[in-house]
C-alpha cells in the first residue's frame, strides 16, 4: 500500500480564523491523510520552512482576513526560491476570496482555490487525486536541509528499507522525551529550544516529534502549532505519525533518528507520543544519550508509580505543571520511587507554560551541561546499541 499523503495546513499571519481549517483537518485525517498542522497567525517564512522540513506534498492555506492574493503568491514564490516547487499550494477562504482573486492566484501558481459551499468530500477527493500519486524523480535538493528532508521521506515511506549510507559517526547529542499525553512534553521542549537558541547563537537543533496515527492511517501532526519558539531557521523539525506501530514511535523512527544524529546538529530532540505505563520507547544504551520522562502530577495513586517502566530508565524525571495542587505530593512520591533504583536519576519540577520558569532553567542546565555525550569525542556514543527493536503490531 502506498504511503499516506502528507500535507501541511495553516492559517496566514494576523488571521485567527481556525474554525474551517480544524474541520478540514479532521476530515482529511479521517480519509487517510497525514496533516502537519501549523496553526493560525503564521508568517510565510514559517509555512515554507515547515513545508520543506516536513517534505509535504502540498500546503493548504485557509485565509479569512484578506490580503490572500499577496499571501498565497508569497508562499509560492518562496517555495520556488528555495527550490521546493514540487510542494504545491491550495486553499480557500469562504466568501472572502472572489473568483477574480482566484484567477489571479491560479495564474501566480496556486493549484486550487475552494469557494464557499465546497463540500469536505470534494476537498478530500482533490487532495487524493492531485497529490496521491507516487512522486516521480525528485528535483535536485537546493539545500542541505532539503536534502535531509527528502531522505527522511525515503526512509519513512519505505519503512526503513533504505538504510542510511552515511558513516556511523554521530555528531549530535540525542535527547529523548517521553511521558503520558497531556503532561506538557511539547511545551517543555519548546521552552528548552528557546533557551538553547538564546545561549548559543550558532547552534542548530533537530526535533523529531511523533503523533499517533488514527484508523485509516491519517494523523494530525499538530506539535508545530504550539511550538512557537521552534519555528526558527536554526531548528529542523520533523513530525512523524506512528503509522500503526505501538509504543510511542514510528517504524521508521530509528533510521530517521540515526540520520538526524549524523547531520551536524548540536542537539537532536526526539519526542514520543503520549505513552502508557508499560511503554519503553528508549532502551538503555540506545541511540538516545539522555532520556527525560515528563510526568503530570495527576498520575493517580502511589501504586501507579510502581507500574511506570520509564521511571526505571529515565535519566531525568520532570514533574511538569508543578503549580497544580497535587505537585508536592507527586514530587515526594516520585522521589521515593526513584530512590529504589539506586541510580543517579534527577528529579526536576517545572511549570513549562510559565515564561522564564526557573524549573525549566534547571532542566536546561541538566541537559545542556551534563556530559552524557561528549561532542569532542563523537565515537564515544557511536557504539551504543540501537533503539528499541520495532515490532509492528498487527
Amino acid at each position: 500500500m502506498a504511503a499516506p499523503i502528507r500535507v501541511l495546513t495553516a492559517v496566514p499571519i494576523c488571521d485567527g480564523h481556525d474554525s474551517a481549517i480544524n474541520t478540514i483537518n479532521l476530515e482529511f485525517i479521517r480519509h487517510g491523510i497525514e496533516v502537519v498542522y501549523l496553526g493560525y497567525h503564521r508568517p510565510v517564512a514559517d509555512i515554507v520552512r515547515a513545508a520543506i522540513q516536513e517534505d509535504v506534498r502540498a500546503i493548504g492555506i485557509s485565509s479569512y482576513n484578506g490580503g490572500h492574493v499577496e499571501f498565497f503568491a508569497e508562499v509560492v514564490d518562496l517555495l520556488r526560491k528555495k527550490g521546493a516547487d514540487d510542494i504545491k499550494v491550495f486553499g480557500g477562504g469562504g466568501g472572502t476570496i472572489t473568483h477574480d482573486d482566484a484567477k489571479i492566484m491560479r495564474r501566480r501558481g496556486v493549484d486550487e482555490i475552494f469557494f464557499a459551499g465546497t463540500s469536505l468530500e470534494e476537498m478530500v477527493k482533490f487532495v487524493h487525486d492531485r497529490y496521491g500519486k507516487p512522486r516521480g524523480k525528485r528535483p535536485r535538493p537546493k539545500s542541505a536541509e532539503q536534502e535531509l528532508a527528502h531522505r527522511l521521506t525515503e526512509i519513512e515511506d519505505t519503512k526503513g528499507k533504505i538504510r542510511n549510507p552515511k558513516s556511523e559517526i554521530r555528531n549530535s547529542k540525542v535527547i529523548g522525551f517521553t511521558g503520558p499525553g497531556g503532561a506538557g512534553k511539547t511545551t517543555l521542549i519548546d521552552e528548552l529550544v528557546l533557551r538553547f537558541l538564546n545561549k548559543d547563537k550558532k547552534s542548530r537543533f533537530a526535533i523529531l516529534s511523533h503523533d499517533p496515527s488514527v484508523i485509516g492511517e491519517g494523523a494530525l501532526l499538530g506539535d508545530r502549532a504550539t511550538m512557537i519558539n521552534s519555528q526558527n531557521d536554526r531548528v529542523f523539525m520533523r513530525s512523524m505519525a506512528t503509522r500503526g506501530q505501538a509504543g510511542g514511535l514510528s517504524p521508521a523512527t530509528h533510521d530517521c533518528l540515526a540520520l538526524l544524529s549524523q547531520s551536524g546538529f548540536d542537539y537532536v530532540i526526539i519526542e514520543t507520543v503520549g505513552t502508557g505505563q508499560e511503554a519503553m520507547p528508549f532502551q538503555k544504551n540506545g541511540i538516545v544519550d539522555q532520556t527525560i520522562l515528563v510526568m503530570n502530577p495527576d498520575y493517580g495513586s502511589r501504586l501507579q508509580l510502581q507500574k511506570i517502566v520509564m521511571l526505571d530508565l529515565a535519566d531525568v524525571v520532570v514533574v511538569n505543571k508543578s503549580d497544580l495542587q497535587r505537585a508536592k505530593t507527586a514530587h515526594t512520591e516520585i522521589e521515593q520511587r526513584l530512590e529504589q533504583n539506586r541510580r543517579s536519576q534527577r528529579l526536576v519540577d517545572t511549570v513549562a507554560k510559565r515564561h522564564r520558569d526557573p524549573g525549566v532553567d534547571r532542566l536546561f542546565d541538566l541537559i545542556s551541561v551534563a556530559a552524557v555525550y561528549d561532542r569532542r569525542n563523537p565515537k564515544a556514543g557511536a557504539h551504543r546499541a540501537p533503539l528499541q527493536k520495532k515490532r509492528r503490531k498487527k
Binding site: 474541520t23 497567525h41 482576513n65
Partner: protein, 603 residues
Amino acid sequence: MSKLGLVVESVDKHNQFVLDQVKRARTDKDFGRDLVGRWNDIKAKIPTTRTPTGIPLPRLALPEIDEPGEIARYLFSEGLPGEFPYLNGAYREMYLEPIREVESLEKNGHAKNGKAAKKIAPTEEPTRLFSGLMLAEDTNERFHFLTAHQRTHRLSTAFDGPTLYGIDSDADGVFGKIGEGGVAIDTVEDMVRLYDGFDLGSPNFSASMTISGPAPIIMAMYIAAAKRRFGPSVVPKLRGTVQADIFKEVQAQNETIFPIEPSLRFLTDMVEFTSHEMPRWYPISISGYHIGEAGSTPVQQAAYTLSNGFAYAEMFAARGIPVDQFGPRLSFFLDCGLDAEYIALARVSRRIWAIGMRDVFGAGPKAQLYKLHTQTSGRSLIAAEFKNNLTRTAAELVLAYMNATNSCHSNSADEPFTTPSEEWIRLAAHGQAILLEESGIFKHTMNMLSGSPGMKAVERAVETAILEEFREIERLGGVLAAVEERYQRSQIQNAAHRYEQQIYDGTRPIIALNKYRNGSDEDIPEVKLARTPRKKQQLQVDRLVKFKKKNAEKSKRALDKLAAVVESGKNCFPALLDAVEVCSLGQITGRLQEVVGRFRPMV
C-alpha cells in the same frame, strides 16, 4: 469552590425562593392580597398610548393573571422590565416612541395624527454599525458618512489584522494585510486621525473599539489622542467601550498576544485605571459573539460568556475594585442567529447575571445589569444567492429586539465575500429603522412579544443547559483552569464540526446552499471590493517609519521604564500611557513579550 459554583447555587436558590413565594401567595391570605394589590397598582400606573391607526395600547404589556400565585411567579421569577431579575429587560422602557395622546381619540372618535402629549426628548438610536477600513483617514471618512444623519455619534471600530495582533505595519510579511478587514493603527498619530472631527468629550459621542489582545495599548493610545486634541480634562468625560476580552480570545477568536495570566493582569491594570479615572468608560465587553461565530451552540455561547464575566468580576474584586464601581462598567456582546435558543438567550443571560451579581458578589442594582450589545450572525450569512441574507438578518433582528438588547448591529448582506459596501451597509441600517421606527412591533409597547408559552419553554431549557455548563466548568476547577485545559475550545470545535456535518448531510437546511439551490457554483456575485491600494499600505509604512525615527531616543527610555514597571508588578497602565506618546504598537508589544512571554496558541 470558585465563584461560579456559588452562582449555580444562587440561581437554584432563587428558583426555590420563587416556588416558595408562589406557594405562600396561595396559602397566606394577607400576602396574597398584598400581591394582588401591588399588581393592580402596577397595572393602573401603566400609561396608554395609541397607534397611528388609532387603537389604544398600554406602554407595558403584562400577562392577564389575577391569581396571587401566578402574580408572585411573574414578579419574582421574571420581574417587570427594569426590575430584578431583569428577564424582560434591563430598563423599564426601551425602543418606545413618545406617547401619543389617547384622550383626543376618545373625545373625537378618530385619531389625530402624530400629536404627542408632551415633548419627550427623542431616545437614542440603538443602531450601531461596525466599521473600519484602510487607513485612519479612510475610516474617519466612513464614520462621518455613517453618522451624518444621527443625533448621536456612536462609532464602532474594526482594526486590521496587524493591529489586532499588536504588530506594526512595517513588520515582515504583513504588508498585504495593512488596512484589510479593518483600520490600520500603529501610533497615537493614527489614533488622532481616526476620530478627527468628532467631539470626544461630548455625551453624544462614544467610541467602541473591537480589539482584545493589545487592548490596553490601544486604549492608552485613545486616551493619549484625546488628550492631544482636548487637553487632560477630557479624560474623565470619555465614553466608549474597548473589547479587551481575553478569555473569549483564548476560547475562540485566537487574537491573544501574551500568555493568559499576564494578559489578564494587563487587563486588570487597565480596568483599575478606568474605574478611577474614566467613570463613563466600559473597559471590557464580555463577548459571546466570537464564540458563536467560531461555531459554538447558542447555549455554549451564553454559558461561556456569563462564566467569563463572573471570572472577570472575581478578578477585579480581588484587585480591590469595589463591585459597585466596576459592575456597572461591564458590558456584554452576543451573537444572534436563527436557532430556536435565540428567542430567549439574552433574556436568560440577563437573569442569571443579575442573580449571581446580587447574591454572590453583593452588587447593587446598577451592577446587576447585563447591558447587552447584539450583532446578527455573520456565520448564518452565505455567499450563494446572497440577497437572502437580508431576510436572515431581518429575522435575527426581530429575535435580538425580542430579547430587549440595549444596542444592535445588523450585518450587511455582502459580508460573506467582502468588507461591507456602502449600498449594503445602508440596507442593513435601514433594516433596523424599519423594524423599530416604521413597524409597530417595538415602538408602542414594552413586552410586545414577551411571555409566550414557547418563549417560556425555551427559557427553561436554556437556563437548565447553561447551569449544567457552569457545573462542568466548576468541576474542572473554574474558568481559568477550564480554559487552560482547553475545555471551552474543544466544546466549541466539536459544535462547529457538527454544524458543518449537518449542512453537508442536509439535516440543517441552508436555503440556496443545500436546499432550493438554483444555479451553479459560479453564482458568487460580482461586487466591487473595498481593497486597500498598495499606495495606501506604503503610506502607512512610511508614516510609521518616520514616527519611529523621530522618537528613536525617547521610545527606548519609555520602553525601559515600562518594562521595569511590569517587572515590579505594579499597575503598568500609567507607564503605558507615557509609552504610547513615543512608541508604536509593535514596539510596545515586542517589549512586553520580552518580559512576560508570548502566547502559546492552543489548537
